[in-house]
Symmetry: C2
């Protein structure tokens, strides 16, 4: 006796994917308490009741949304860097991350910069996923260095961590100062990092 298969086999996973990706954008744009479960489901074309067939709780959804946006943003940045020669990729990542385009579009940008502080004060899956996103970014930056420089060392780890901190902080500052000064903040931070890197390489 067979079990009936009442829906296309990937229907539920497709629906879940749609919920997660629209929630990921909404959370980054409005913050986590700024987006209700009802909002998320409406945006996905569903009603609120179906939510708990897909997720254990809102925190569970937040966790999935952070995972999604964390991977997605790294992938998007990486694609643009493929065209560059290996020696320029690290600097290219910094420039792309600290770009006016990125500052102007948090809804498709790095979730660590938009949701980091508010997720950091919670406990649960979402916070663990945030930490994973940070490790992912450190390894991503390492992968953009020319091969001979990828070997782990204390100095290299410091450089990666400091650079990531500066990227995230710079983006946050740019968004916080308001549109008039935003570009100047990004420029200053980029120049600071370029100079720091030139010094490091000697």
């Amino acid at each position: 006796m067979r079990i009936a298969m009442p829906w296309p086999k990937d229907h539920k996973s497709k629906t879940r994917e749609k919920i997660v990706s629209s929630a990921a954008a909404a959370f980054r744009a409005e913050g986590i308490p700024g987006v209700s479960v009802d909002d998320v489901m409406s945006n996905a074309g569903l009603t609120h009741g179906a939510f708990y067939a897909h997720f254990d709780s809102k925190d569970d959804l937040v966790s999935a949304a952070i995972d999604h946006s964390s991977a997605e943003t790294v992938a998007r940045f990486s694609k643009a860097l493929d065209a560059l020669p290996p020696g320029d990729r690290f600097a290219g990542a910094i420039d792309a991350y600290l770009s006016p385009l990125h500052a102007a579009h948090p809804e498709v940008g790095c979730p660590v910069a938009t949701l980091g502080p508010e997720v950091a004060r919670t406990e649960g899956k979402a916070h663990r996923e945030l930490a994973r996103g940070i490790r992912r970014r450190l390894e991503w930056l390492r992968s953009l260095l020319p091969k001979p420089l990828q070997r782990r060392s204390k100095a290299r780890d410091d450089e990666l961590m400091g650079t990531l901190a500066c990227m995230i902080g710079g983006l946050i500052l740019a968004r916080a100062v308001g549109p008039d000064e935003s570009d100047a903040v990004l420029e200053s931070t980029r120049r600071f990092l370029a100079r720091a890197r030139a010094a490091q390489d000697r």
Copy 2:
């Protein structure tokens, strides 16, 4: 005919001060939507109804809380640095900001790192106050440089902005990775900045 003076002349301002300072701690600890007007008033020993005798709206309170905590943290850090010789103050500020103590106590720490992203997506007084807090921090860092280095220049402005970005980003990362890796993040970021500064000074 005189107007009666039914309360001690500074009673209301004292009460307001108490509301603001306890709200400032609560917002940094729990986030802005995480703290209700009722919570704030209860913590100050009052009931919710009195709130609108002191503030126009919750955003008005948030604005006051950011102003308060922005000034307070700079003052506290500054006091600890007075004991140092002028040439060590800038580095001392970085070490204090990127310390495990600061990372462990957001409720008395820098409001830009705790509330920056969530306030940056709002419009109103609170966002403007946040921007002011950032300018305040840049000038504070400049004031910690030895006198001859305080003169404004493009390179100096870049250094101040990049350093601030790195401090804020490093603190956010330390809180985001969780307690086990937090100290290592802080250490790496401090070493990165020390090295960048050594390079700059040549």
